[in-house]
Symmetry: C2
Subunit: 356 residues, 2 copies
Amino acid sequence: MTSSPLKNDLLLRALLRQPTERTPVWLMRQAGRYLPEYRETRARAGSFIALMSTPEFACEVTLQPVNRFPLDAAILFSDILTIPAAMGLGLHFIEGEGPAFERPVRDVAAVVKLGVPDPEQDLRYVLDTVRLVRQELAGRVPLIGFAGSPWTLATYMVEGGASKEFALIKGMLYAEPATLHKLLDVLARSISVYLNAQIAAGAQAVMLFDTWGGVLTGEAYKEFSLRYMQAVIAELRRESEGRHVPVILFTKGGGAWLEAMSHSGADALGVDWTQDLGDARRRVGAKVALQGNLDPAALYAPPERIREDVGKVLESFGHGQGHVFNLGHGIQTGVKPEHVAAMVAAVHELSPSYHK
Amino acid sequence: MTSSPLKNDLLLRALLRQPTERTPVWLMRQAGRYLPEYRETRARAGSFIALMSTPEFACEVTLQPVNRFPLDAAILFSDILTIPAAMGLGLHFIEGEGPAFERPVRDVAAVVKLGVPDPEQDLRYVLDTVRLVRQELAGRVPLIGFAGSPWTLATYMVEGGASKEFALIKGMLYAEPATLHKLLDVLARSISVYLNAQIAAGAQAVMLFDTWGGVLTGEAYKEFSLRYMQAVIAELRRESEGRHVPVILFTKGGGAWLEAMSHSGADALGVDWTQDLGDARRRVGAKVALQGNLDPAALYAPPERIREDVGKVLESFGHGQGHVFNLGHGIQTGVKPEHVAAMVAAVHELSPSYHK
């Protein structure tokens, strides 16, 4: 592994609530279709699966946003469904509809067949991408690795793809909870092994994306999502290259449970745009850093309005340490790159006064 | 209008936080595809549009759940998109995909063309259904009328149908807020006229469904959704047949804003299943009644587990007045009618002890 000294460690410091000169900034899904250079690489790759599973392509798109904007982190370009794919469920992508599995997991017989994938063997393309990105970044900014949460992966594996009502997985939750616990257990073990392999390959921070935890009741969230994310975090290697490896936890729609999430062992919590960031900060106190939370749709506004909205997010968090600026969810396809540039410039310009 | 004396006014009393012997219960979307008798009527009608726009069919399905289960209210069978349809947008339903408009509203030129529909003329089928249902109910239980919220109707009108990212309407919100305000204003006026016509035709309570308010930031929710629901409520005729007509406000995903909603003029707030009902009650105090909030998916559990979960919802609200038992969102298609029966029976059996 390359280990050029890290030139910009704002993100790593902010995630650990250490002093920084300004608020670091990156965007969820920053490597994506809103960038013409991404669409060009995607076309060359031929398919989304080829794009994400060929280290050269995946590395190229990982670096594109960092080359275009003065961002403070790169995030591995990959998909949250790499683990179920490696488990042999037959992942494919249907144009305009999203991911689908040929062999969904709907009963205990299917669950007990699932094994923990060996990352260096079954997910080598991801780790090769991590290594390649680290080499190409040469210490410019840190690289964030990631995985989907156990609950979120389980939703796709049981439903067989994206869902609106989550009838099958919630049916399992209420009618066959023991089967679901077995599934979540093998997923939690697979995810911790996978994230540790990303860390060993060079990821300098890791993020757990719990995209669908927000469809649960509070009680079910704690039992079926948060508990397994805690189990993942407890197994992570938290030190690499002489530095602490921060862990970020993000449950979309999980604003009601931030207190519980702050006891998960994560260093930082992602906050979606529906929450007031200042309230969130008061609720979690000094236990964790917070990441967020501009409405992704705010980037449709004219640049001067974007600047204003960036200012409101910074003001809402307020003075002091522990804020990483981000959107409250992934960037949308229709956003103009110049608007992202305006957002990033506004963070650079307006945030230093909150760190004096 | 028929005005048989109301034999069961539990719902109306609970919505006004008056004493009741037990907690009243009804289900959002209680007339629907999970009932074989609904599927039979739907097949006879030929299409969803024929079903909802023919008073005889719509009345028949409105009464089906009330005939099958000991529920404490009927809710008008209709669609939230009747107003935009009456405005001439060309509503149709695509099998498996949901509603779509032939002529979406995407700029100020399209907005200024919209007029307030005259309910007795343009939405007569809805009012005829209300009158017919009241006649058939003959005072057994009250009839709830409803409408979509201005913001929710606007999302469909601008997007042209259902949406995941709400890119077009949120683009309008951030880039052309004045256009969106114009649209919301004509919708608010149309909705209050429409709900008043439902009340005049015999609706004994009304509910505003804000299905998509939860995709907004807190600030935008207040400016673009709550404010216009308040405007609707302020115009409503609150007295009919010598009784107060209660208003229920429901924003799915709006748990963070219950305090603000409690000042809207509504008598009761719907609470979705992601919220803790006891917390919600502590937050709104004695200002409003609360309606909810069993996870709709809890009905997939075996009947004994359903009974337990009903008990938890009752316990979470606690002793005293002001609770209407309901799901936290509409019932799902795959639920067995016997499971609904188990839920309703559990409310009848377990709730009296909370009213002593």
